[in-house]
């Protein structure tokens, strides 16, 4: 196998002082929020360099979230597909997805900054559940904004958030999905910025969020790098694959492999492929690729997966796509449902619909992948999705209407 020498300069360095990854990123927020973003940046820089903070963070990840999570070798699936499949098991974390990493980091930081209230947006509800969990753990108030459409298709997570003591507020405008939940969370933050921390759930938004959220998730890539080295005799996988909504689980796992020969592949839903369309735009605080019409009106994404139903993408992914360090592919809802069933049957692992996108691409690309080793970030478990998938498979018209060709 040809190995390009690993150089030590990462392809995923910190953003510049204006929060740019190449030409993407920045801080496009109302004046009211600029001081809060600057304060957050300073607090993060200081905390991230403070051993006491990082120790407390890693201790929580270990004793509360259950890290490190394993890498599982999928023997049956590997022989069926013709390449070696490894899964990074973020689905085994407390609360069921990778989202807990970022939330524990931000909640600790918010506490350090003296903020007593968290607001968050959520699509699938995983980030909302993780935020509600961290708020309960640290004795903070928590308000989660969620699109009305998502409240319906992720009813289980809505109940979990309420059980955890969070208030779930329905976002009624626009497409009533993740994009509108972000709008509502930002409007809340504009009005409550003195007391409230906006616990943003992905590598998006104004600087320092895309960078800070990636840093809180880099534990995924760091662990996986060491685990793969052990499994692969010091080698790295040929491919590292992750689904991309905003792009946090992808940024986390990519950051462990950006300086290696591993090919990085992000998988978007066909109905929400911001990078696939590659039109730059500015919304929710940063410049990135954005699904929009000819006038710049943001378009509504459509995906069976509430967690990927977002028309934008984190700015660092736009940059990685532009410089060619990562590539981005898309899959349809039908392909995702097949992959969802495939992993359940062959490995006894019910994936969330989001990481099922990664697997769906792997199935589609099996000729290209033949003989290689592929690490997929299993970003979450499928418990939250089984009712929706059951309804789709039963042919329920309302559930079917969440699918797009």
């Amino acid at each position: 196998m040809t190995v390009t020498p690993t150089d030590t300069t990462s392809f995923m360095p910190d953003p510049d002082e204006r929060g740019r990854f190449g030409e993407f990123g920045g801080r496009f927020v109302p004046e009211t929020l600029v001081p809060a973003c600057a304060e957050l940046e300073a607090a993060f820089v200081e905390a991230w360099a403070d051993a006491a903070f990082t120790q407390e963070f890693h201790e929580l990840l270990r004793t509360y979230a259950g890290r490190p999570c394993p890498v599982t070798v999928c023997s049956r699936l590997s022989s069926q597909l013709g390449f070696r499949v490894l899964l990074k098991r973020e689905d085994l974390n407390h609360t069921g997805s990778h989202k807990i990493n970022n939330v524990l980091g931000q909640a600790l930081l918010a506490k350090r900054m003296g903020k007593k209230r968290l607001v968050a947006e959520t699509g699938a509800g995983q980030h909302g559940v993780a935020s509600a969990t961290a708020a309960a753990l640290m004795g903070m108030d928590c308000v989660v904004y969620m699109g009305e459409v998502d409240i319906k298709r992720q009813a289980l997570n809505v109940f979990r958030m309420r059980l955890l003591g969070a208030e779930v507020r329905s976002a009624m405008s626009g497409s009533r999905t993740l994009k509108d939940a972000v709008n509502e969370a930002m409007r809340d933050w504009v009005a409550t910025v003195a007391t409230t921390h906006y616990c943003l759930g992905s590598v998006m938004g104004p600087h320092p969020y895309p960078w800070m959220v990636r840093e809180f998730h880099r534990v995924i890539g760091d662990e996986a790098r060491a685990q793969c080295a052990e499994l692969l005799d010091g080698e790295v996988p040929d491919y590292v694959v992750a689904c991309v909504g905003g792009g946090s689980n992808a940024a986390g796992i990519f950051s462990g492999f950006a300086d290696t020969r591993a090919r990085l592949v992000g998988v978007e839903p066909a109905g929400g492929a911001a990078i696939g369309r590659a039109v730059p735009g500015v919304v929710h605080g940063s410049k990135s690729y954005l699904m929009q019409d000819e006038f710049g009106q943001v378009q509504e994404a459509h995906s069976v997966s509430a967690g990927l139903d977002y028309p934008g993408v984190g700015p660092e992914h736009a940059h990685l796509a532009q410089i060619g360090r990562a590539r981005y592919e898309s899959v349809t809802d039908a392909e995702v449902l097949d992959a969802f069933e495939l992993l359940s049957h062959t490995e006894g692992i019910i994936p969330a619909l989001e990481p099922a996108h990664g697997l769906a691409w792997m199935v589609k690309a099996k000729d290209e992948l033949a003989g290689s080793t592929v690490l997929l970030n299993m970003s979450g478990r499928g418990d939250k999705d089984v009712a929706q998938v059951q309804a789709i498979l039963d042919g329920d018209p309302e559930a079917l209407s969440t699918m797009r060709p």
Binding site: R187, F295, G296
Partner: protein, 242 residues
């Protein structure tokens, strides 16, 4: 100074009539909103007007074409979100504003650190980039914002989004006073100014007020274009007393 606000595209067919009507009712300048799909600085009232306008096909080109036809002799200022300008291209957007007879632009999600590229094109085309100055900024930042501002400085009257408030926020007169102390440019306060009394109170310190949600809400609740114009006349009368 009185600066009432019009949403480009709401009420759907009649909105251009508001421009001439507001001018006749004594507006000193008019803010023309170009609807955007994701208006994060706006509360429910402006959101609703924007989404009705968008649902009926409002777009920046259409809005600017209609504004160009308006027969008014007071300054017009566009208010929209940055992606509208970015998508069209800074130079084209600036030129289109000039062609429409619009002399200024307010882009509430384009703060000081990000404004230079746009502002350079706006300066070239002769469009005044009005900067927002927020109560959360320290004095050093207010000075830098005011220095970059063209036309006037827009003092953000409260920590929050647009929408009516029963009581005038203390921050409205505070930000006016802080800005008057550091700049010679006109200071106009907007956000949360809901009735003639509040407009008059802010105008004791500020050089002008923007009134938006209070006007739009009257029409969303079934009031006519003439009712909205009548309300602007009442605002005018209150300011004339100051």
């Amino acid at each position: 100074m009185l600066l009432p606000y019009v949403t480009g595209g709401y009420p759907v067919d009649e909105w251009p009539r508001l421009i001439e009507g507001f001018a006749a009712a004594g507006a000193d300048a008019i803010e023309i909103g170009i609807p955007f799909s994701d208006p994060v600085m706006d509360g429910p009232t402006i959101q609703e007007a924007s989404s009705i306008a968008l649902a009926h096909g409002s777009n920046p080109t259409m809005v600017l074409d209609r504004v160009a036809e308006a027969d008014v002799h007071i300054p017009l200022i566009a208010m929209t979100y940055y992606n509208i300008a970015y998508r069209m291209g800074h130079n084209r957007f600036a030129d289109r504003l000039v062609q429409a007879g619009i002399g200024g632009a307010i882009l509430p999600d384009l703060p000081l650190e990000e404004v230079d590229d746009w502002a350079a094109e706006a300066d070239r085309a002769g469009v005044a980039t009005v900067m927002l100055a927020a109560p959360t900024a320290d004095d050093d930042r207010l000075v830098r914002v005011a220095t970059r501002a063209r036309g006037f400085v827009y003092g953000v009257g409260l920590v929050g989004i647009t929408g009516e408030r029963a009581e005038l926020a203390a921050s409205a007169t505070e930000i006016a006073g802080r800005l008057k102390a550091i700049t010679d440019k006109p200071v106009v306060v907007g956000l949360g100014i809901s009735n003639p009394e509040q407009a008059a109170e802010v105008s004791q310190i500020a050089d002008g007020v923007v009134v938006a949600s209070a006007i739009i809400r009257r029409m969303l609740e079934g009031g006519s274009v003439d009712d909205a114009i009548g309300f602007v006349a009442r605002l005018r009368a209150a300011l004339d007393e100051v």
